[in-house]
């Protein structure tokens, strides 16, 4: 991701008085040409009735700058991102150092962890479509 352009865009939202609505991460499972999977991170900003999303695709280990200097509430989302997904967020205003959730599984939502759980269930991805059709009978 282009960090400078991203931070400039976030800063514009901040200056225009938008508030941070949600930062959401989705894991993209490992696939051809993307062995470690990836993360789709979207930062959503709201102003009155409007909501806009900034989306970036980052690879595991890639540095994601924190926006907690402009949006104070971001630190909670960012700690969560790091703890549950293993996203490498840098420069958080309040770094909880992995003490937020303390899950039994390390980074349970990381692409590799999801892959491992799906494999244990014996499910390839995507799930075969005929299976769903058969259930309707």
């Amino acid at each position: 991701m282009d960090k400078d352009a991203f931070l400039a865009r976030v800063d514009r939202y901040h200056r225009d008085g938008w508030r941070l609505a949600i930062i959401n991460t989705t894991s993209i499972l490992p696939a051809e040409g993307m062995d470690g999977g990836a993360f789709d991170i979207s930062w959503s900003f709201a102003s009155d009735q409007l909501i806009e999303h900034v989306r970036e695709r980052v690879l595991p280990g890639e540095e994601v700058p924190s926006i907690s200097t402009s949006f104070g509430a971001a630190f909670l989302y960012e700690n969560e991102m790091r703890e549950l997904f293993g996203v490498n967020v840098t420069g958080m205003a309040l770094d909880l150092k992995g003490q937020l959730y303390q899950t039994s599984t390390i980074v349970p939502f990381a692409p590799s962890a999801i892959r491992a759980r799906l494999d244990a269930l014996g499910r390839g991805d995507p799930a075969p479509k005929h299976e769903a059709g058969a259930k309707k009978a």
């Binding site: 609505a21 009735q49 003490q99 349970p108 759980r117 499910r123 995507p126 799930a127 309707k136």
Partner: protein
């Protein structure tokens, strides 16, 4: 000055649910607070891998036992958007009515817990006694007291007859009239004023800076309410959010007290304006597999909730995410706790109306 760290929680008399705050004290003043959660973390969002999208709504409902209706509704609405389902109008009205009833029940519950936190047990009992009447209506119409399982993708599972609706409005208005006396106590009792007035002030600017939502933001004078977007039929009702400007604990109590009467009025309006169409369809059959993604916003009793759903054309969703109002209000809580007296911490924590099981999912 010597600094002391006092861990508060996970089991603490004022906290109904486990959360830990490491309070850094200088004498009696709190200078810092570090939150730790995770005692209720279940990993609910990862259950999308195991529960099919048709049944996942029942998992979503169990994010929280207080706003369970809203969670079920949010999931259903979001899935309907992904699958481009046109929901029968009657189902949408019924959802609105149940949603506003959830608000009444949640606020009454919170007012009780809040009263208990500032040492007014008598009021706690009063609020919960009133709340039981709302629960009775819920049980009669949905079959459950706390978890309703009444939402389904494509509509709702149960209808309420028109006579029943009229009876509900009448019952709620009686409840509102009876509650007015209790409401007056909250607003005027000198002991409550002493305890809450001027405590934990969140200014308008701060509320904006920490992205507070719901009654928390409205008590600081921010006109913010997802119902204003007019989705979920709120555009057909006359609605103006309850605002207070003081931003202290008392303002947050008063906002919730007044929102109870507002919700009763919204239900009355809804019953007046919905078509009298008993027996009209309340559900459409949903077939096929969902593809796409959606962000869905809803105003819960505690504030704005956002659902994100990504579906990839299989019967299992790829990602489900709920950003619950308490999650958004925790930065505000930390902001408020810093600089207050240790004895005020329980009140401040309570007035954000924390729902930890929502926060941790």
């Amino acid at each position: 000055m010597k600094r002391t760290v006092v861990p508060m929680g996970p089991q603490h008399p004022v906290l109904p649910e486990p959360i830990v705050l490491d309070l850094v004290l200088e004498d009696e003043k709190v200078v810092d607070a570090i939150p730790t959660i995770g005692y209720i973390h279940r990993g609910l969002e990862a259950l999308v891998e195991r529960v099919e999208y048709t049944e996942f709504g029942y998992v979503v409902e169990r994010i929280c036992g207080i706003c369970s209706f809203m969670h079920g509704m949010g999931y259903a609405v979001a899935m309907e958007e992904i699958m481009a389902v046109e929901v029968p109008e009657r189902a949408r009205w019924l959802r609105l009515i149940w949603a506003e009833m959830s608000r009444i029940h949640s606020h009454l519950l919170w007012l009780g817990l809040g009263a208990d936190a500032f040492g007014f047990e008598n009021l706690f009992m009063h609020c919960w006694r009133t709340r039981e009447e709302v629960l009775d209506i819920f049980e009669k119409t949905t079959g459950g007291r706390i978890i309703f399982s009444v939402n389904r993708i494509g509509g709702v599972r149960r209808d309420i007859s028109d006579t029943e609706l009229a009876a509900i409005v009448e019952k709620l208005q009686q409840l509102g009239a009876g509650f007015a006396a209790t409401a007056r106590i909250f607003e005027t009792d000198p002991s409550i004023r002493h305890r809450l007035s001027g405590v934990g002030i969140l200014s308008r600017e701060d509320a904006h800076a920490v992205d507070a939502v719901g009654p928390m933001a409205r008590a600081s004078g921010i006109r913010m309410d997802t119902r204003l977007t007019g989705t979920h039929l709120y555009d057909r009702l006359d609605f103006e959010p309850v605002l207070e400007t003081a931003g202290d604990c008392l303002a947050r109590v008063v906002v919730r007290v007044r929102e109870i009467s507002q919700s009763i009025d919204l239900i009355r309006q809804a019953v007046d304006r919905m078509p009298k169409a008993e027996g009209a369809p309340i559900e459409v059959k949903v077939r096929g597999l969902p593809t796409g993604e959606v962000f869905e916003r809803l105003e819960q009793p505690r504030g704005e909730v956002i659902y994100y759903i990504k579906a990839n054309g299989t019967k299992y969703l790829e990602r489900f995410r709920a950003r619950t109002p308490t999650f958004a209000n925790i930065p505000a809580m930390i902001k408020l706790v810093k600089g207050c007296d240790l004895a005020d911490v329980p009140n401040i924590i309570m007035t954000i109306d924390p729902c930890i099981s929502c926060t941790e999912r």
